[in-house]
Amino acid sequence: MSGPVLAQAAGGKAAPARPVRRPSPAGMLPVVAGLAALALFLPIGQRGAEGAAVTWLGHPMALLFLLGAALCVGTGRSAVTPMRSAVMELAAVLLAWALPFHLLGEGFDLGRAWGMWLFLVAATVLLWRVLAVFSAVPGALRSAVVPGLFGLGLLAGWEVVVRGFSVPFILLPAPSAILATTAAQAPVLWADFYQTVVKSVLRGYLIGCGAGFAVAILADRVPFLARGLLPLGNVASAIPIVGIAPIMVMWFGFDWQSKAAVIVVMTFFPMLINTLAGLAASERIQIDLMRSYAAGYWRTLALLRLPNALPFLYNGLKINSTLALIGAIVAEFFGTPVVGMGFRISTEVARMNLDIVWATIVVAALTGSLFYGGLALLERATTAWHPSMRRR
């Protein structure tokens, strides 16, 4: 929150006396050129694992990629605005990153293709330069395009390194291989998703958060209860509640009931604490105003205190969204019908079928992100009026 204020205060006053020294984007271009020039003298791959090394000059297509990238950067230099030259440079980066995919497609082995890797390093430095220009612009470019390009770069780097160095499948499969497995195993993954998320997580989450909320309202009416429960809640946040999973499996059986029970216990206290904190967030003067309107407890709660508590409620709901997924999956390690994401992970790991494990992880990651993102969107839609949402 204080970031922009601080930057303005510090930068605005002192800028004339002592310009802030940042790694200037312009200074990076010679680095890029130097790296690319050095790369020219090194091989770009071998035909097959035993074949002779191929240089840039021995592969006309590779030279075309190089020339294209250089041309893009050159055109960018003469562009009118930094933004336009950044876009041209982005095109150069994309061209450069397409080269290894082209070579891999032709069956090249990139294990000792140091020219190739150096070229990619140069392209990455160039990408950094582009991101520096983009992130100076507020708006969608900064909040969506910059992280998007960064993530895309990570994915591309993962793919190229895994395939280029032929990393064993057991250690780390390429993203494309994981995606292919996800598509091929869709029915199995869907059954697991249904068992774990729809049956266990949603029910446990709703019951746990509902109970935490209800008890918080009760504790708000009976302060004695609040003073007794709050220390317990603080202790509960310090202890590893996931550990009750084997007990719950013993009590409630292998099916979704035991997982939901674990989730209920895990999510109860965060919701309780956050709701109590939220109910305390209304100011004395606001409550006094409600009293002067002759509003009773419930009316004050519904019209003033709950709306004011919304940011806290969402905080609890968001924390619990991740906790619920973890609780369900970990509880499935202790026993489950032969379906479910935790079951899939633990059994397929033992059988070394790591591709389906990775596919399950992709599903879990997507579920977690969508759950969290959905809550964040809902929060933005329902608490846009709240002071904590200003200046964003």
Partner: protein, 295 residues
């Protein structure tokens, strides 16, 4: 003085005491309810007549109860802690030590990674806009679910024992540290930042002499969260390693053999470990923050 003591007792201890008492009563009632059928069956099999007292005594002293009583758990804890030497695998403290080792190693790595990331994010604008969203997204992934796979994969790569567990703890720990430190490193008063500028201090000097001390309270707040998460991470990471040592292993073997008392005592030990580590952080906080000159 007496009034102040009276207020604390009335406002704090009394509600807490009543709540704890209620939990205990409910616990014993639950023991009766859950172990009742099993206890009744055992008494019937014995053949002799039995009354309510016999029934209660039976339900409270089952060898493998569905829900053990608190005194059973305490006896088991006491026995396993004092009955064997510290290096024996039957000593629960030994397992707690193994878990604590992994958790603390992971915490150390996580703190290092978190601080480096935070320093980068605070100083390099590109990182703030490109990396921070992914740091946040990384936490919506249920990483604990991946723990067994990480352990197996790292085992294939030749890493066994402490390191795989520590790496999982690291992944869990770095997030609160990063977020807390980004806030903390920016928490320095703008006036002080200007003062540093008038001293012609560079970014490095400002970082070490102003930003770091100013961020200490944030660091310790994050550390308390991270320690608790780290213990959870270490325990879950111990689940798939099977048959070695650690609180997680005790949980798993207890669940395999139906040793409920063992599970509960391992759980209590995990809670104690977690609270003890948080206590250590709290002590370190008072010492360090006082040294750094905070009021």
């Amino acid at each position: 003085m007496t009034t102040r003591v009276g207020v604390t007792v009335g406002e704090r201890l009394l509600p807490l005491g009543v709540t704890l008492l209620a939990v205990l009563v409910l616990w014993y009632a639950g023991t009766l309810w859950l172990n009742g059928p099993q206890a009744a069956e055992m008494l019937n099999r014995a053949g002799t007549d039995w009354g309510a007292m016999d029934f209660a005594r039976r339900a409270f002293t089952m060898p493998r109860p569905l829900l053990p009583t608190p005194d059973q758990i305490l006896v088991e804890l006491h026995k396993s802690v004092t009955g064997y030497p510290l290096t024996n695998v039957r000593n629960l403290l030994y397992h707690a030590g193994v878990t604590a080792g992994a958790a603390l190693t992971g915490l150390g790595l996580g703190v290092l990674l978190g601080i480096v990331l935070a320093a980068g994010i605070v100083h390099v604008k590109v990182l703030e806009h490109s990396l921070l969203p992914w740091v946040i997204a990384s936490q919506t992934i249920p990483i604990l679910a991946i723990a067994p796979m990480v352990v197996v994969i790292l085992g294939n790569a030749g890493l066994t024992g402490l390191m795989p567990k520590a790496l999982i703890c690291m992944y869990l720990c770095f997030f609160p540290i990063t977020v807390g430190m980004v806030k903390g490193l920016r928490a320095a008063d703008p006036l002080w930042l200007d003062l540093m500028r008038t001293y012609s201090a560079g970014a490095a000097t400002t970082f070490w002499k102003l930003r770091t001390p100013a961020s200490l309270p944030y660091l310790f707040a994050s550390l308390k969260v991270s320690v608790a998460i780290s213990v959870v991470g270490a325990i879950v990471a111990e689940l798939p390693t099977g048959g070695q040592a650690g609180i997680g292993t005790r949980l798993l073997s207890g669940s395999y053999y139906g040793q409920t008392i063992q599970i509960w005592s391992a759980l209590v030990m995990a809670a104690l470990l977690s609270m003890a580590l948080i206590g250590v952080v709290r002590v370190a906080e008072t010492v360090v923050v006082r040294q750094a000159g905070a009021r």
